[in-house]
Amino acid sequence: MVTGDSRAEITQRLRDIARDLLERGEVDVFIGYEEGSLPLRTTPAFITRPDDVSRLTWGALCENNLATYLPKFEGRVGVVVKGCDVRALVNLIVEKQIARDQVKIVGVPCQGVIDRRKLAGAVGEGPPVRSVEETDGFIIVRGSGFEKTIPVQEMLSPACATCVHPVPVLYDLLAGDEARSRGACPREDAFAEVERFAGRNVEDRFAYFAREIERCIECYACRQACPLCYCPECFVDRQSPKWVGRWRDLSDKMVFHLGRVLHTAGRCADCGACRRACPAGIDLRLLSKQMEKDALEFFGHEPGTDLEAAPVLATYRREDPDDFIL
């Protein structure tokens, strides 16, 4: 359980680490979180001067996956990562998008992050939230004429519920006590949701995704927020050949989303960045989670946990199973 104390503690540790790294010249930039401009937001902070480290903060609202800024980063960089974030970072190292020696990984034993959509639901319609306070496992929201105290645990992002590595699997420095991280989800429970979903009939499943994807406005925030989507030119943007039509009907949107899921299959570790970035609240987690499950079941591959393991769907071994193909 996260406590106010540990938040403050971690914040302090992060500031100390950042100051130290910057002062020693071990990094040129330190990427962490700072308070945002809206009550429920934090925002990525790019700190270059030791004096600015006091801007850094930590809490259940530190939702962004900062690894997304790392591909082809020039210079040496320190970056704050949660358990899920670092798995994307591992992929980026494996895929040579950043050199291991160029990045100082500052891990935080994660207590889970708040899902703003869930919180909005808990607050309900009505006057907007104008301020937020995080305390001992609770979040207090206030607006004109109301105040609500909501347990953080109930507001966590769905990805946090199935997280099996709340403590980063790889770090140079750990800003906090491993023991204080949120308990890991037992492996056998991690895919309960997708298993339930997979049990539904195919029409239902299709209808679910059709409903989700229909809302897409092709702003590509999901892609841009995704640390694994670093292609210089995305397949949807290709003009020759044009994979995705301009009619922007459901099938075109499907091609994009399903294509993206496939491109991240065996790499995606469910950090939830895409879902959070989406202004339409599209949730494709079930699909990407299924990919994660398949990678594990078929190939024994757990995305982003092994610096030596290449993305499983991009490599071929003779002994790979193929009986599921047909």
């Binding site: 945002g36 401009s37 809206l38 009550p39 937001r41 934090t42 925002t43 990525p44 790019f46 962004n64 997304t68 800024y69 959509r117 319609e125 009505g126 006057p127 907007p128 939230v129 104008r130 004109s144 409903r211 989700e212 229909e214 809302r215 406005i217 092709e218 702003c219 590509y220 925030a221 892609r223 841009q224 927020a225 030119e233 943007d237 003009q239 039509g245 301009r246 009619w247 922007r248 960045a273 959070r276 970035a277 202004p279 339409a280 609240g281």
Partner: protein, 353 residues
């Protein structure tokens, strides 16, 4: 649009909003903010949707998707052609309309204001966009003054306000148990024709409305130094500040697609064996492809240039060409940016240069 209304303020009981909705629905296609899968957008609405509008305790500030798509949809077919070489304007594409057939209902003042900016582009003196202009001429705008602006709102900083009348044909202002009904154009008056449940507003209602407006203005939290920023931007193109400002930008199009005034688009052909269609879609200056030449040269090669373009276009180039900033302070870009890159902070930073 069109001639100004008589300006005589009327009033209707809040409970009569349903009746008004039925009245409108009888003669017009009514488009109102509808929640679909958690996203609010202007879509064809039923009487209950419209009538229930006023029942909400307080309507959260603007619909997630902007009003512009009622006039300038995200995708639309401009032309159809067949293999034989016949080309025609796509069926259903709006031609200039002589009469009002649609009502955009439940519009927020910022969105209504955005139309006056889009008009400058699509209804320009040299070339008129018949699709936009046709829809605009055929659509009346019924606005609700804001009483509870959102935390991201900054309309007052860009010349608007919770009861800004620009772009509206009819405005409803909460006044206790009633709505003050302000016809702002002949078209707005036309909407009331045949609707009996209105009477002339009394002083009490007018005063109540004024109070509500003042309260709302007070609640628009931020005073953004837009004018100062506009002034500074004239010389800021080459400033090093962009280096810091753009950094966390992800390069997505949330800000531009949800912006009620952004209007960049793309035109492309979709072919079938029998012919095809020429299609227009929203596009975004945030995308690298927006300016990429066929040769591979890109005048705005990185996120930095593209981010700068967005800010410069809204607060400098547009101002130079039209005398107005291309922003209505609706706060959508602030609210929905995945990394909380807040345009208000950007303007503040620039103003402080």
């Amino acid at each position: 649009m069109g001639e100004r209304g008589s300006g005589k303020a009327l009033v209707m009981a809040k409970r009569d909003l349903g009746a008004f909705a039925r009245h409108l629905a009888a003669s017009y296609l009514v488009l109102a903010p509808i929640v679909e899968g958690g996203v609010t957008r202007f879509a064809v609405a039923g009487v209950d949707d419209i009538g229930g509008f006023g029942d909400r305790e307080s309507v959260p500030a603007p619909s997630k998707r902007p009003l512009k798509e009622v006039f300038f949809p995200q995708e639309e077919v401009l032309l159809a052609f067949d293999a034989g070489g016949k080309v025609e304007v796509a069926a259903g594409a709006a031609a200039p309309a002589d009469e009002v057939t649609r009502v955009a209902f439940g519009v927020r003042p910022c969105d209504a204001r955005s139309l006056t900016l889009l008009d400058l582009v699509f209804d320009a003196a040299d070339y008129k966009d018949p699709y936009y202009v046709g829809r605009r001429q055929g659509t009346a705008v019924v606005t609700f003054a804001c009483t509870e602006p959102g935390v991201a709102c900054f309309c007052t900083s860009v010349g608007g306000g919770p009861s800004d009348e620009a772009g509206s044909d009819l405005m409803l202002v909460e006044a206790g148990e009633s709505y003050l009904v302000k016809p702002l154009s002949a078209r707005g008056e036309g909407l009331l024709r045949g609707f009996d449940a209105v009477r002339e507003a009394g002083d009490v209602e007018l005063a109540a409305a004024r109070d509500a407006e003042a309260r709302a203005v007070g609640r628009v939290a931020r005073d953004v130094p837009v004018d100062a920023a506009v002034e500074k931007l004239a010389g800021a193109f080459g400033d090093a500040v962009w280096e810091d400002l753009y950094r966390k930008c992800l390069g997505c199009a949330v800000c531009t697609y949800l912006c009620p005034t952004c209007h960049c688009f793309d035109i492309g052909d979709e072919a079938t064996r029998a012919g095809g269609e020429r299609v227009r879609n929203w596009d975004s200056c945030m995308f690298p492809l927006f300016t990429l030449h066929a040769s591979g040269h890109n005048p705005r090669p990185s996120r930095k240039e593209r981010f700068r373009q967005r800010i410069m276009h809204k607060f400098n180039y547009f101002v130079e060409n039209n005398g107005r900033v291309a922003c209505v302070g609706c706060g959508r870009c602030v609210e929905n940016c995945p990394v909380n890159l807040d345009v208000r902070r950007v303007l503040e930073t620039i103003a402080a240069l």
